[in-house]
């Protein structure tokens, strides 16, 4: 039984269907990727899972409970932690205070008046590698740092399911790599991780299962190798369809462009290119 299941989730805004009958799942101890072009509905689906957006249709099951109608905070208490694509760090608090707030909420109101130091705060900051920034205000740190801060903050509530919305954008190559290791460690400890991500190296490197979303629909689900060689996925990502005769741009340019969208740092020349395996 999966820890999280999205069953036939549909979200409509006016005439636009952002998520269209989407199914996906996440398992404990495993990292699941959710990829797709901009506007495919990935973030909307995250909002549905965490309760920020009520679905037009469909259900969300978490730990064998139907949580479709449960409020955001109850889902968090059940063990859902998340980060945001558009950062939601508490800008007027320091990095340490951000994590401390999450610990306070997690520990409950009774702990608020004790004044004991929580060792876990420092540990979490160390785990994501933000020691240098502890006393800086969250609105003054670089984007990548703020993303890692959101990860630390989400981890502070000891989640069983961690939803990460583009966690690596703003990180450099080395940081992305150590972030990947962090995710693998978390998974090894039993955490289920669901991740929206544009960095294909990261996604292909750490995910066991990948769901591909296009126009709100899950068009493919599989292992990194399967996804890599899937023509539909390539078409979705590159922006051309197989039957398109109007394509004038050579495939290698398109591939390069895709890689660029995926790559955190185009000045890095040692990137391995994931796409277009099946081309021969």
């Amino acid at each position: 039984m999966a820890l999280l299941e999205a069953i036939g989730v549909t979200v409509r805004f006016g005439g636009i269907t952002a998520v269209d009958d989407a199914f996906l799942s996440a398992e404990p101890g495993s990292i699941t990727g959710l990829i797709g072009p901009n506007g495919a509905g990935k973030t909307t689906l995250f909002n549905v899972i965490t309760g920020l957006q009520p679905p037009t249709k469909g259900r969300i099951r978490f730990k064998n409970h139907d949580v479709t109608r449960a409020p955001v905070d109850r889902r968090a208490k059940m063990g859902m932690g998340r980060t945001f694509q558009r950062l939601e760090a508490f800008g007027s608090l320091t990095v340490r205070e951000n994590v401390q707030v999450a610990r306070d909420v997690h520990a409950g109101a009774r702990s608020w008046f004790g004044g004991r130091k929580d060792k876990r705060v420092g540990e979490l900051i160390e785990i994501v590698g933000l020691d240098r920034y502890v006393n800086q205000r969250a609105d003054s740190v670089p984007t990548g740092v703020a993303r890692l801060l959101e990860v630390a903050r989400a981890l502070a509530i000891e989640p069983e399911l961690l939803l990460l919305d583009e966690p690596s954008s703003g990180l450099d190559e080395a940081e992305t790599e150590s972030f990947g290791t962090l995710l693998q460690n978390l998974a090894r400890e039993g955490c289920a991780i669901l991740m929206v991500e544009h960095d294909m190296d990261l996604v292909m490197g750490v995910c066991e299962l990948i769901h591909v979303l296009e126009f709100g629909k899950v068009i493919a689900t599989g292992t990194p190798a399967q996804i890599r060689s899937n023509r539909a996925v390539q078409a979705a990502y590159l922006g051309f369809s197989d039957d398109s005769t109007t394509m004038q741009v050579p495939d290698d340019i398109a591939a390069a462009a895709t890689a660029m969208l995926a790559a955190p740092n185009p000045t890095e020349t040692t990137l391995s290119i994931p796409a277009v395996d099946g081309e021969g």
């Binding site: 905070d73 968090a76 558009r86 997690h106 609105d139």
Partner: protein
């Protein structure tokens, strides 16, 4: 049957007038995102201008109306947009409320200054065509009522045609969705705003002129029309004009039929004023919970918090210094200082709620009144009475907040205002509260056998309470609750995804804040030796809030300065009739000018002191900003601390215009 028809007509008259006022409010709110608390004040000023032209100068009715509607109101709308509203449109709800409340009081101040209350010359405006009437279903209907109903219909038709058949009207509807996009279409969105404020002001003026014959020409009745308009507009969630009309008519009819209620003098007089509040709360209960939004800009407002030791030292020094000063005061001034301290304690409750939490309460003095009344009821010198007063007030606060706090700060603020009105008319005037004389006596508290009968010693007690509360507040700010308050203001969505039940947290904060206000009330009753409803009018909560905002609502020292300010201004104003509008002009004008820097005058004072004493610490974000801001040009900037509560579509454009 005749009675029914005449009540119906009476109700329709009010409904029609409310509809005109309320649709002006909705129009300006939807197109500019500024909720104008001073909408009723505009009606009030327009009614005074009408009186000046028509009654005082003897101008014919039609000429006076034309001048008010097509000269005064447009000019007023333009000035309003340029000087006030343009600066508010990108501010968070708290700042918006304080600024338009500033305007609210400023307009009253202007009216008091230009048309000072004068017992020898009673000002009034009569109905159009006097008491001329014609028969409808067996009762006589005044022409004035008919004119009002026709005016409402004409306004509805005019609005419909403008919004659907003209380009600028279409642009106004577009501005509701997305002002930035409208600019990309090539439209000057400032012009859309100006037009919207002109029309809004005209509609307020029409409502004022139509209603003044019924309400009488005074500073307050028409000014509080904004509550009725708000209640009516809430039926359409402040967006739909047809539902606003419907809400207005329903409210008007309810007021008409309330005349069926007989028996108690209280109900007969108070019910029509309490009905908008009852209707408002009824609607609020059914309004669905506001969805959490992500992608909002974070506020960077954060008062510097002194360390525990520094706060303690400052507190002790302050206590003895203030005690020394108290010893030097004459009895009258001692009493005044005691009052200032009660105001200061009340403002501490606002530091928690507004300064830290970002929520605005427009009825804090009503809570003070509840605390005072409870203590008087006990009529004992036991401190238990004070404790009970605090608990009861906190409970009342929780009850007010509960239905409203799942909505946004705007609804909370307006609901508190409505609550204050309800208390004014139905509770504080009731015999079970303050008795028939409207005044009940209180005993001063005695602690450990000491009875504080000497006013100086009582003031010392107040000082001690103020210092202890201030220290407690700073401890809260440094601790988990303080962090949570700031976090909740920065990103409610993130707090929810961490598992915080915001509704209960906010209710608790509001309730504690009300409890502190109740404590202030208990002390006030002891200081004066009595409590009377006149001291705790809803209206008086407004200068209280503004004095706190002007002095600095984020700091304990700001609360003290605010208390002094609120006590001193009326004393100064009383020195000469030429200063009759002084208090409201200073507080209203000050709030309009200073609201964007919530650290207020105290902060300016500290910054000034820093020129003399370079190491002087400044409580407020300005120092923090200076330390980490990338460019020195931003240090005194007013551009972006005020930006929570703005939908993401607007974010990036802020401060550009």
């Amino acid at each position: 049957m005749d009675v029914f028809v005449s009540y119906t007509i009476y109700g329709l008259f009010f409904g029609a007038a409310y509809a005109i006022a309320a649709s002006g409010l909705v129009l300006t709110y939807t197109t500019t995102r500024v909720f104008n608390l001073a909408h009723g004040a505009t009606s009030m000023v327009a009614a005074f201008v009408f009186w000046q032209l028509h009654v005082d100068k003897g101008m014919p009715t039609w000429a006076a109306i034309l001048l008010v509607l097509f000269v005064f109101a447009p000019l007023y709308g333009i000035v309003l947009e340029r000087l006030v509203m343009r600066r508010v449109s990108d501010a968070p709800v708290g700042v918006m409320l304080v600024m338009t409340l500033g305007l609210f009081l400023f307009l009253i101040g202007i009216a008091q200054q230009i048309w000072p209350s004068n017992t020898s010359k009673y000002r009034y405006v009569t109905q159009f065509f006097g008491t001329k009437s014609f028969p409808v279903f067996g009762v006589q209907m005044y022409y004035h009522y008919l004119i009002t109903i026709i005016a409402a219909a004409a306004c509805a038709a005019g609005l419909y045609v403008m919004l659907n058949r003209t380009r600028i009207g279409t642009a106004m509807r577009a501005a509701v969705d997305n002002r930035e996009l409208l600019q990309l279409f090539g439209a000057n969105s400032n012009r859309v705003s100006i037009l919207s404020w002109i029309i809004g002001s005209q509609m307020a003026a029409v409502a004022g002129i139509l209603l003044v014959a019924k309400t009488g020409l005074d500073y307050y009745q028409l000014t509080f029309l904004v509550i009725n308009a708000f209640a009516a507009a809430m039926l359409g969630r402040l967006r739909s004009l047809p539902f606003t009309y419907l809400g207005s008519i329903l409210l008007g009819l309810a007021i008409g039929y309330s005349q069926y209620v007989h028996g108690s003098e209280l109900l007969e007089n108070g019910l029509q004023f309490a009905l908008p509040t009852l209707m408002l709360f009824l609607i609020l209960i059914f309004v669905p919970e506001v969805r959490l939004r992500v992608g909002q800009v974070k506020g960077v407002l954060a008062a510097n918090v002194p360390s525990a030791r520094r706060a303690l030292t400052t507190g002790v020094v302050f206590f003895f210094l203030a005690l020394f000063v108290t010893e030097l005061l004459n009895p009258t001034n001692t009493l005044r200082f005691g009052e200032a301290l009660v105001f200061g304690i009340t403002m501490l409750s606002l530091v928690l709620l507004t300064g830290y939490g970002g929520y605005v309460s427009l009825s804090q003095l009503t809570f003070v009144g509840v605390g005072a009344a409870v203590v008087c009821k006990f009529n004992t010198s036991s401190p238990v009475a004070i404790l009970v007063a605090v608990l009861i007030t906190a409970g009342v606060g929780a009850a007010v907040a509960l239905p409203v706090l799942r909505l946004t700060g705007l609804y909370l603020a307006l609901a508190t205002m409505a609550f204050g009105q309800l208390m004014d008319y139905l509770v504080f005037n009731a015999s079970f509260m303050f008795g028939f004389g409207g005044k009940i006596n209180a005993k001063r508290v005695s602690l450990f056998g000491y009875d504080f009968s000497d006013t100086t010693s009582y003031v010392a007690l107040e000082l001690a309470v103020f210092v202890l509360l201030g220290l407690g507040l700073l401890t809260i700010r440094r601790g988990a609750v303080g962090r949570l308050l700031i976090a909740l203001r920065d990103s409610p969505a993130a707090c929810a995804t961490l598992g915080l039940n915001q509704r209960w947290f906010r209710v608790a904060v509001f309730s504690v804040s009300a409890g502190v206000a109740g404590l202030a009330g208990a002390l006030m009753a002891g200081l004066q030796g009595y409590a009377a409803p006149g001291d705790y009018k809803e209206f008086q909560s407004l200068p209280l809030l503004l004095a706190a905002a002007v002095a600095g609502i984020t700091t304990v020292s700001g609360a003290f300065a605010g208390g002094l300010l609120l006590m001193l201004l009326p004393v100064l104003a009383a020195t000469s009739t030429a200063l009759s509008g002084l208090e409201f002009l200073v507080l209203g004008g000050g709030a309009i000018l200073l609201a964007r820097d919530p650290n207020g005058l105290v902060n300016l004072f500290y910054r000034g002191m820093r020129a003399v004493v370079p190491r002087m610490p400044v409580p407020g974000w300005v120092t923090q900003r200076a330390a980490s801001a990338p460019k020195p040009a931003e240090v005194d900037g007013e551009e972006d601390e005020d930006l929570d509560e703005i939908p993401e579509a607007q974010v990036a454009g802020h401060g550009v215009a």
